[in-house]
Amino acid sequence: MGLAAGGVIAEEVGRVIAPEPVVVTVGLSLGLLRRLCPDHPKMAQLISGEAVLAVAWQERGPNGGPTGASCRYTGGKLSGSKAWVVGAAGAQGFLVLAEGDNGPFLVLAEAGADGLAIENRVQADGSAMGELSFSDTPAEELASGEAVRAALTEAVSDATALAAAELVGLSDRALEIVLEYVKTREQFDKPIGSFQVIQHRVVDLHVMREVAQAGVHEALARMDSEADPKIRARLASRAKARAVTAAKKITRDAIQLHGAVGYTDEFDIGLYLNRALVLSAWLGDDAYHRRLWFEAREEGGEAQ
């Protein structure tokens, strides 16, 4: 299944803000395994949903932001820490990117392995993001060398694109909820959706949604027919930048358009805002991806 088709599923996941690790599994976990060790028994378990593996590939630098890998893998043992691990709480194991003496490794650490400590940081949508630390933690080597880095680049591009699609679905449903609300909520003896100021704001959200849908669909379709990882990464950045911009605007304006009840925990619309916050921050927000996109454009030239 290509990204265009995977995007359709991700959009549906986004529409119902399902707490399922679909994008992270399809994009990252499977994305790494199918490229590096397609015959590993965990592949089948992941596909059937029997097992969930979280991917630990990022690390926190001295100022809190992401940094290069310093987590080490030597003699079958892991040491160091990893950050922003989605689905850490429910995972049976972790796919960990680590540096060995002669380059990068992808290794598998079981959830209950010795020397593994997990700190879960609660996210706006109620999910948890894991901070892992390893101290002589035993782990199984899955792959090593430049292939690991290449597979990671591709898997991150895929996951970024699918997260964009998930945000598109989320925005779509959030706007539907807004439309239902402004058509039924009455003030001054009229539905508030009959006031022009409300109408024009909702129209702007609608245009934002349509542009995001068209842009993300096009980017994913082009990624499917593109082999160059740099161009695929640039397309993924385009998709995520657009999807985050749209989702932020739509979910935040949605709260305003609901008025006071939008700020309560009683209405579904708040769930969309919270999920959008988490999905936007994960794998980079719009400002971050615009920067990557621009740098790639400078490097690759205008024609791609």
């Binding site: 439309l179 402004v182 058509k183 009229k190 539905p191 959706g193 009959s194 022009q196 409300i198 109408q199 024009h200 909702v202 129209v203 702007d204 609608h206 245009v207 349509e210 542009v211 995001a212 068209a214 842009g215 669909h217 096009e218 385009r238 930048a241 657009r242 400002a287 615009r290 920067r291 996109w293 621009f294 454009r297």
Partner: protein
């Protein structure tokens, strides 16, 4: 006669591109203003000899008979090469109306004269009290023997000072319950004592717009197109297809290219804030093009475009404005300077672009009107 529609899209595109690239006069590429007919007459003669003046008209009336897909390609190539549309009100507006609603006699007389540019047309719709609320128009036409006698005023009439004829919406029945009723569509020769044209100078210093005053001007009754008092429905019937063009990406794409070369020359990309705003604008243009392609595909499949096509115009015109505003920022202290600014071997007229972008959110149905349309016709928001 060539059956263009039988060609593949690629063959057709190649043919059109080649003709423009070899035949279009270099000095007329990307003209920054609307030309008078004399300025582009030599190009019109070439188009006329080729039989390409009216791409959308059926072949029986001297058009190319292009289907929607081919028509879109034709216009895309035209914009790509910076080919001026010429004085095309006759071809774009009056011709299709006469073809659809006119009598055989009207077709035989007017259509060949439109193609040859023997008659050059301007559009008399807006009035001082009828802009966004066009149906509020008050210019009267009363029957007097074999003529209509016209009194009133039109405004924003593009290039009226360089036109031989005006097609106009006039009130022929002032007593109807709804103001959309009682409006008729008339063809009127401009060379007569009852018509006075005054040009309006715009912020950019151009004089493309005019006011046209009617003081007992006359036109024969046979110059009524369609039924008396049915002009409003007819004029609206024409809009469906044209609406995609007003939202085409080309204006913003061209401006973005200008912005990029200007900003590079000026070193504006050294500033991370500018880089981000440029990236935003560039992505806005790219994603708009994706949305445009979706509507274009709809046309190519033979579907009629709905009211939602309005969103293309809203997005692209506002984006165009932001791009020209970024040019001014990149110009720094030169941002208020009239005329071309030289950077390296590139010369960019920053203010001309800025001014050109201003009216795009006003004309063709202001963006506020477009939002009203989307709100009611697409989102179904109440009254």
């Amino acid at each position: 006669m060539t059956d263009w529609n039988a060609m593949t899209d690629e063959e057709f595109r190649k043919e059109v591109r080649q003709f423009f690239e070899t035949e279009y006069p270099e000095e007329l590429r990307h003209l920054p203003h609307r030309p008078k007919f004399a300025e582009i007459e030599h190009w019109h003669r070439k188009l006329y000899a080729k039989g390409w003046v009216a791409p959308a008209w059926p072949t029986e009336y001297g058009g190319m008979g292009l289907d929607a897909a081919k028509l879109l390609i034709f216009y895309e190539e035209q914009q790509r090469w910076g080919v001026n549309r010429g004085r095309d009100m006759g071809v774009q507006m009056v011709g299709p109306l006469i073809i659809k609603f006119g009598t055989q006699k009207q077709k035989d007389y007017w259509l060949p004269r439109i193609l040859s540019c023997e008659d050059i047309w301007c559009q008399g719709y807006s009035e001082p009290g009828a802009g966004s609320d066009l149906a509020n128009l008050r210019t009267r036409a009363e029957i007097d023997g074999d003529d209509f006698v016209i009194n009133g005023q039109k405004i924003w009439t593009t290039m009226a000072h360089d036109s031989t004829h005006i097609f106009m919406l006039v009130r022929t029945d002032p007593k109807t319950p709804k103001k959309q009723q009682g409006i008729s569509f008339l063809l009127v020769p401009m060379d007569q004592p009852g018509i006075e044209v005054r040009t309006i100078r715009t912020l950019s210093g151009e004089t493309e717009f005019c006011e046209v005053f009617f003081d007992n001007a006359r036109t024969p009754r046979e110059n009524l197109v369609g039924e008396l008092n049915k002009g409003w429905t007819m004029a609206k019937a024409l809009l469906s297809f044209e609406r995609i063009f007003i939202g085409s990406p080309s204006l913003a794409q061209n401006a973005l290219g200008q912005l990029e070369s200007f900003a590079r020359g000026r070193g504006a990309f050294d500033d991370p804030v500018f880089r981000d705003r440029f990236a935003q604008a560039a992505l806005d243009v790219e994603d708009h093009a994706a949305l445009y392609a979706r509507f274009a595909d709809q046309l190519k499949r033979g579907e009629t475009l709905g009211a939602d096509v309005s969103m293309l115009k809203i997005w692209v015109t506002e984006c165009f404005q932001r791009i020209t505003e970024l040019m001014i920022e990149a110009a720094g202290p030169d941002g208020g300077t009239i005329g071309p600014l030289q950077v390296g071997n590139v010369s960019v007229d920053v203010l001309a672009s800025f001014y050109k972008a201003r009216p795009t959110t006003i004309y063709g149905g202001s963006n506020e009107i477009q939002r009203n349309i989307l709100s009611k016709a697409v989102l179904g928001l109440p009254g």
